[in-house]
Structure formats: C-alpha cells, structure tokens
Symmetry: C2
C-alpha cells in the first residue's frame, strides 16, 4: 500500500490506472532494421507494444515464395526484446486458421492495381490475417512500413470496411547503405545480386530528376529501360496517386504522386517506391 | 518481454492494459469496522482502492468537536493495509485548502432538514472536501456508510450539481455487539456512556414494532420519550422519506421511510437511523 500526502503524488500514482495505449506491429519475422524502426515508433507512441511474428500462408500466391520465405524466430525474439517490445505473438498456422478462412474482402480500387493485379489473392490474404490480428489484439494503433506502400492503402480500406477502431501509422522505408530497401527477402539474394539490387533505388531516385523535364509516360519508360538488364525482370513500374493508387497521366493530376516498382532480381521478387511529390 | 503463442493467452496478457476501475473511500480516520466494510466493498468492486484520511475542518460547525475528534493515523494505515487498500491519501490541511474555500453549494432540500438545520454549514463543508477529493482522485465509484444517511443524499445532490461522473455506493451500517452504530466518536464515550448508548439502537429497533400500530407522530414521540433520560439529550428524531429526506406524516406516504436520530450522550453527539420500509 502506498501512503501519499500530496494531490500531485496521488495523481501520478493513479496515472498507472489509466487505460494503456496498445500498439501492434504485424510482421512475418526475419526481422531487419525496417521492422525495428516500427517497434521503436510503436514503443514511443504506445504503453504496450505487441509484435506479431507469423508467416501468413494465405497471402502467398506463389507456393515457392512461401517455402523460401526466411524464418528466424530466435533471432527475432532477441531483436524484439532489445528494441523494447513488450509482447511477441508467435501463433501456429492452426491457431490463426483453425478453420479455412473463406472471407473475401471488397477492398476497392486500391487493391486492384499493381500488386493486386500481379499477385492475385495476395491482398485478400493480407486482409484475412491483419483483421484476425486486429480482432485478437484490439490495438489502438498499428504500424506498417511504407515499403509496402499499397498494402497500407489496402489495410486502411479494410479497416474502414470492417469498422475497426485502429489508427494505421505509416512509417518511412529503411534502406541499406547501398540504398536497397530493407526486406526480409534480401537475405535470399546472392551477394552478387544484392550488390546489383542497389540499382533499383538508385534508378528510382534519379527518376525524380528525370521527371522534372519529362512526362509521366516518359519517366515510366526511362525507369523500365534502366532496369532492363540481367538479373532484373520487371513486373511493373507505375506512377500513381498516393491516396487512390490509380495511375496518373500528368504530374499536375495530384498533390501526392508515388512511383511503385515490383521487380525480380533473379528468382527473388522485390518491391520499392519513391515519392515524386 | 512475453512470448505468447495463443490468442487466449495473448488476450489474458492484454487484459492488464484495460482501464482500471478506481474506487474512493473518503474517511476522517480513526477507522473502525464500519470503514473497513467500505474498504472491503471497494476492493471487491474496483481494481484500485484509494482511501482518504483527512479530518476536514470546514465541515465542523463546533470547534470543540473538531479538537476532540480522534486521530489515529498509524493504526489507520495498518488497518487499511490489512483490508487490502492500495493507496491511502493523507493530505495536510494546507494541501487540501491552499486558499480558503469560499464555495457555497446549492444542495437543495435534502441538505436543509435534520443535520442541515442542527449543524449549519456542515454539509457545505462536506461538499467542499468531497468535491475536492473527487477532483483529485477522479474515482469511478465512491463508498459511503449509511450511518450518515443524509450525507449520502447530500453527496448525490452535489454530484448532480457539479456533473461529476462518479457512482455513489451506499453501504449498510456496521454495529457493535450491543447494537450501537460504529462511529469514531464512540471512543470518546466513557465506558458507562458507551453501555448506555446501546439503548439508542434498541429503541430505534423496537420503534419498528411500535410503528405497526401507531401513527408517525406517535412513533416519533415514543422514541423521544424512551430516550428522555440521562445521559441523553435529543437533538432530533425525524421520520422522513428515504429519497427526499423530507418528513412524512403518514406511513402510506412513501415506499421508503427512514427514522433519523441525532442525540447527545454526555458531550458526544451521536447519529443513527432505522428503515421502517
């Protein structure tokens, strides 16, 4: 029992009884500094930081990609502990999917372009697992990295659709020294590929200068041409409205314009994006 | 950091982040089993039990009564600790009244009868200190004993007046073996007076039988006559509506009828009450 004599000390003691703000950082493990920046943002904004580590099978449209996906649970726990995470949630597939999840989400136009076109079913799987995590954790805030730029728009759409009361916090891309956007899949690249993969972000970055004196169409073609060489194979490069994710044809068309790329480097599919304005 | 694998265990861990229910038991110390029953009720209904121990000068209309009022802070802390209280708030007079409290509360008809008439200014002082405690603690629930039957009605009136969001919980009178209502002032009685004081509750209790075949007026007169002897000196015995606290003239007048007594036993003023229906 605490014996307290002043109102100020009393209110400090009672502060701990106030509702705690719960933050969630959903991850698929194989954690890198990008994830850890989300954990740090979460611990700075929330009283309780929950990280989930779960390789969600329903969002993989490519079975080989699922099998190859790196899994490092012990290293993940260590990194999360060091970053100040309070609870790590590491469920089994059976725990998250005791029954097959047959839900199909109407996620609107943001889900139909780019990744929606190239990875059919991917965003529906993302919506399945993220909605399950939101229902399980009931977080006040949830943190996502902007490398998966379209994913954030899709999750915002899902949250609206399901009336889930959670604030979605978008956090900036963390890059390797070379400029390559941090990704769990980077570990699957050979050393040679990893060096070459740095070209992706360099081209995106240079395209901002190119864009100043060229049309949207010319800029798209220029980026594609720069990356039209081994070991790259472009899925798409699109320049879109930052909110609606729909392609723009003129730079004046929106106040928020983002270029999104998906590109194979050997067998490994990488994504990245750049803000034009 | 906790590593959790099931949704059930996750939700149990997150439960602790839920808003805690804060309960307040305002006391003037010199604690007895009546107070401890409030603490127990509070700990059973709330996550955090705060007891305040403060002899509030502004509610004493009789300076001698204030000076005589028993003070046992160390014993109080021990009893509170044993009863499961989490925080005891023991402020100085300067802490609660850094400036003189000039507030006058319009507490309505419930405050004007009985104690309101016999102890002018008393309920205004009660409203001053209880409102300050409510503002300091911001409790979800506050616990008061029904020995101070009118005080509860006055506090409910104050809470309504000030729009304070707190639930007032009334708890039954705790009595000594003799039937005497537990009161801090009982310790000020001589052994002889304390024995005789037991007659108060006995008369009230018997008056319930008397009331079955007599009018309200006759019942009041009967109670007064029973206690018209040394060392007693009656302030008032009133039979009132349990909600409005206004005197009733017929038993059929209300569904809730309570008899309230204030009586001197030697120099010590005691109060008690009995429910007729």
């Amino acid at each position: 029992m605490q014996v307290i004599n002043t109102i100020a000390a009393l209110q400090t003691a009672l502060q701990s009884a106030k509702p705690a703000v719960v933050g969630l950082v959903p991850t698929m493990g194989a954690l890198h500094e990008g994830h850890l920046s989300l954990i740090k943002k979460c611990t700075s904004m929330c009283d309780i930081c929950v990280a989930s580590v779960f390789v969600n099978p329903t969002q993989f449209n490519d079975k080989g990609d699922l099998e190859r996906y790196p899994r490092t649970p012990e290293a993940d726990c260590k990194l999360l502990e060091e970053a100040g995470c309070n609870i790590v949630f590491m469920p089994s597939v059976e725990e998250m999917y005791p029954e097959p999840d047959t839900r199909t989400f109407e996620l609107g136009p943001v889900s139909e372009v780019m990744e929606g076109k190239y990875r059919p079913g991917h965003f529906n799987g993302v919506a399945q697992i993220v909605s399950k995590l939101f229902y399980a954790v009931q977080p006040d805030k949830a943190f996502f990295g902007e490398k998966d730029f379209q994913q954030i728009a899709v999750i915002r759409s899902m949250v609206k659709l399901l009336n889930i009361n959670v604030e979605i916090i978008a956090c900036p891309i963390i890059r390797e020294k070379s400029g390559l956007a941090k990704s769990s899949r980077n570990t699957l690249l050979t050393d040679e590929q990893r060096k070459k993969a740095a070209k992706i972000s360099k081209v995106l970055s240079k395209s901002c200068t190119f864009a100043k004196s060229h049309s949207v169409k010319r800029t798209i073609d220029w980026v594609a041409a720069q990356l039209d060489e081994e070991p790259f194979k472009l899925d798409y490069y699109e320049i879109v409205d930052g909110i609606t994710l729909q392609p723009v044809s003129k730079w004046s068309q929106s106040d928020s314009i983002v270029g999104c790329i998906a590109i194979y480097c050997g067998q490994i599919r990488l994504i990245d994006n750049i803000r034009y304005k």
